[in-house]
Symmetry: C2
Subunit: 228 residues, 2 copies
């Protein structure tokens, strides 16, 4: 089940993206977590290729995962194939905890990703750490509910860009490791709508599309105003 280190030479997606989250310079909002989760535990780092499955819905949950570099998506499917990505996870973030020992979601690497795997996190301080990470994820999910449930397409895309920006350290230059399909499935929109909204932001002078996967924020205030 664990990924064997793939051919590291063939780094999927644009290499820019592959590097953007590397180096653990950014722990996201998990500053309260130790740099290494449960450091007293022996653990392994696995490399996952772009689009490689980390775990599947229904599988037994027997480990916790921390992103070393790269990006991971968690998602769920409807019977007819409609997909909802509930979260993207970047370097430093922990995912994979489940309430009842079974995974309720799929986890896949968005781009080449290094994942630290913690089996049986039974250490004593670990409960507290896991709780902290779970609460982060909970707040994120609940805030995302507001975006999806009550904001229109333009606001969703703006919120997404600002979120990605914050998680990448607040630079003007934002890298989008994921495809438009991923963004759409995260925001509850179609790829066409995502594209249209990005074009609109661009023609409004709020952002610049260096290329399809790199966005530069020109008017931060306007972008934030969009999210109300």
């Amino acid at each position: 089940m664990l990924a064997q280190a793939a051919t590291a030479s063939h780094f999927p997606g644009n290499t820019l993206t592959g590097h953007s989250f590397a180096g653990r310079d950014r722990l996201g909002d998990l500053g309260r977590m130790p740099a290494s989760f449960a450091p007293e535990q022996p653990h392994q780092v696995a490399f996952y290729e772009a689009n490689q499955e980390i775990y599947a819905q229904g599988e037994e949950a027997k480990a916790l995962y921390q992103v070393e570099y790269g990006v991971v998506r968690l998602y769920r499917l409807l019977a007819d194939g409609r997909r909802q990505i509930s979260a993207f996870h970047v370097a430093g973030e922990v995912f994979g905890f489940e309430a009842d020992g079974r995974h309720h979601f799929f986890a896949e690497a968005v781009c080449g990703a290094g994942i630290r795997v913690f089996r049986q996190p039974a250490g004593e301080g670990t409960w507290r750490q896991t709780l902290s990470a779970a609460l982060e994820a909970l707040v994120r999910a609940q805030e995302h509910l507001l975006v999806i449930g009550r904001q229109n397409a333009a606001e969703r895309v703006a919120a997404f860009l600002l979120d990605m920006r914050k998680r990448q350290g607040g630079e003007r230059q934002i890298e989008l490791p994921m495809s438009r399909t991923d963004i759409g499935d995260y925001l509850g929109l179609t790829i066409e709508t995502v594209s249209r909204m990005l074009s609109k932001l661009k023609s409004s002078g709020i952002i610049r599309l260096t290329n399809a996967r790199v966005v530069e924020v020109l008017d931060e205030a306007a972008l934030e105003a969009l999210c109300e």
Copy 2:
């Protein structure tokens, strides 16, 4: 900040609703939690009237809350007043945990509700219990993301009815303690759309509307088929 026991004679909403969740006959999905959360701790039960605030966004989080009876809504607001209810909580469920010591949401009683308040849950087994409850909430929120992000109005209402049914023990008769406005703000729809979808389910012979707040499921299979 704590609610004083309100005039218990004036039970808000229909009294039916007030009773429906009482008696702790149903713990929702928290079966793994002890009947009394952290029982070794001294704690108090507060009564909240319908629509009474339990805590507000931005407030310091200094307690955990367990619903004894009644229903609670957690929600967040946009600047222009749009509201997203991220969760309803019924008897047995725990809410109020926050990642950084501040509440990120509002909590209000939907109808008259008894809430057990746990201050400083520092007990040792408590971490594990809290984690369990937080993970429940996380799975719920993420599953709700799928409903809101990828299902249409009819599917959302059907999913809502099935969820309420499950949480009330699976009876054919479902009570809806919350207003159409609450349901709409939970499902990311307007009250008109919620009403229309309920009418459609009714005219399709899938449900019966005993009255505005009581639904009887006539064709369970059809209802489940709607959620795909």
